[in-house]
Amino acid sequence: MNLDFSFFTSAVIKSFIFKGLIFSFQLTAVAMIGGMILGTFLALMRLSNKYYLSLPSSFYVNTLRSIPLVMVILWFYLLIPLILKRPIGAELSAFITFTFFQAAYYSEIMRAGILSVSKRQMAAGQALGLTYRQCMSYVVLPQAFRNMLPLFMTQTIILFQDTSLVYAIGAYDLLKGFEIAGRNFNRPVEMYLIAAFLYFVICFSLSKFTKLIHQKIKIIH
């Protein structure tokens, strides 16, 4: 088999790949931030001793964690327009779906993180007069987040790889860009090779970057 990469010029990158790359990054960023915020609330609810908070949260988390992401993507794409009574487009649908889906995974990590901080830290905060909420915000959650940073980043790398699943609803992501370019130039094999290489480089750098940050902000005990 002859591999020919000569067609892969900056013009190709500009017109096919770049747009998809931006979307994949945006989707990852939005779902990461939104998912962490929502996931933190889910974790706090789940750890609450009030059943009307913990039950819905554990139901939500367990349900989403037992359904394949592709199905969630499809369902949201079909259901949200029914609820909102208007079509919202593949991109927006992807943002919403990924945020809600990731929240379920981040919440489990956050829950483990909160449990990893000793209860005595909460007591120490309360003894100083901080309220439960203040103790959570300033004492427990920052430590929980730091303790769990490697897991958060691993989950985010998975999230980035999963963005390719938006093919199911026809959104234009990084992989899609490669696929279309490959088809246009009749060089799918080369294109998929480059795609694999690029995914590898991005994910590998992300995980190196994580290690670096983790070293930087690690809590010294």
């Binding site: 005595r120 905060g125 003894a127 100083l128 007069g129 901080l130 010294i220």
Partner: protein
């Protein structure tokens, strides 16, 4: 200043506090001792409502803890507490540890809080360490910072729960020295400790607990001086501790 009236507490059927009563007056230093599991930590934690109780009442500075709807954060902010394991916030540096509650609870300005914090840090002899993180300090230093952190809140009373029992022996002295100097300044204190030499030196009164009950509540001189005044149980405890 603090009245503990017939306080009882249960974990399910297990009684941890059994009808405890005592009064702590302003400026008084009260040492609490007793065997492990006798309820010392639980008793001291009821005073700032970190532990609740089912019977009796505790009155702190005129406020009854058995009332509903009291402003717990406000009350706790004036009751300083020092724990066995220091419990500094490991993700914050020493200055940040000192100012957090001043800013969030007492609503002090940052500069004012920092000034107060550094003053207290200086008081415990650690002003050069203000930018370090707790994990970079020795146990004794961490405990002194924890004391400074509590003092920043202008407490009306200080509670100590075995402040030196997690420390290496060579660091016990530096922490006890800080507590002694607080006592000499007239700070009201309740201190759970097994350091009997220290107790003899600073305390006005000694409370001996066993099985959740206050067995002895005596003037320090009586507790340590004439062994005939104390119960056989306390005598036995004392002899064990002193041998140790």
């Amino acid at each position: 200043m603090i009245q503990i009236n017939n306080v009882s507490k249960w974990y399910d059927k297990f009684q941890v506090l059994n009808n405890c009563s005592t009064v702590i007056n302003k400026g008084e230093v009260v040492v609490i001792c007793g065997p492990s599991g006798s309820g010392k930590s639980t008793l001291i934690k009821t005073v700032n409502a970190l532990e609740d109780f089912q019977q009796g009442d505790i009155i702190v500075n005129g406020i009854s803890l058995s009332q509903k709807g009291i402003d717990l954060p406000k009350l706790r902010s004036r009751v300083g507490m020092v724990f066995q394991n220091f419990e500094l916030f490991p993700h914050l540096n020493i200055s940040e540890n000192l100012v957090l509650a001043q800013i969030k609870v007492l609503k002090r300005q940052k500069t004012e809080a920092l000034e107060r914090g550094l003053k207290m840090l200086n008081r415990v002899g650690l002003s050069t360490h203000k930018n370090k993180f707790p994990g970079q300090l020795s146990g004794g230093q961490q405990q002194r910072v924890a004391i400074a952190r509590a003092l920043c809140m202008d407490p009306i009373i200080m509670l100590f729960d075995e402040p030196t029992s997690a420390l290496d022996p060579e660091m016990v002295g530096e922490v006890l020295d800080v507590i002694v100097s607080l006592a000499e300044e007239g700070m009201t204190m309740m201190c759970v400790t097994h350091e009997m030499g220290f107790a003899k030196k600073v305390s006005h009164r000694v409370i001996f607990m066993d099985h959740g009950a206050i067995i002895e509540d005596l003037k320090s001189a009586d507790f340590f001086g004439n062994n005939k005044k104390i119960s056989p149980r306390a005598t036995e405890f004392l002899s064990k501790i002193i041998q140790h």
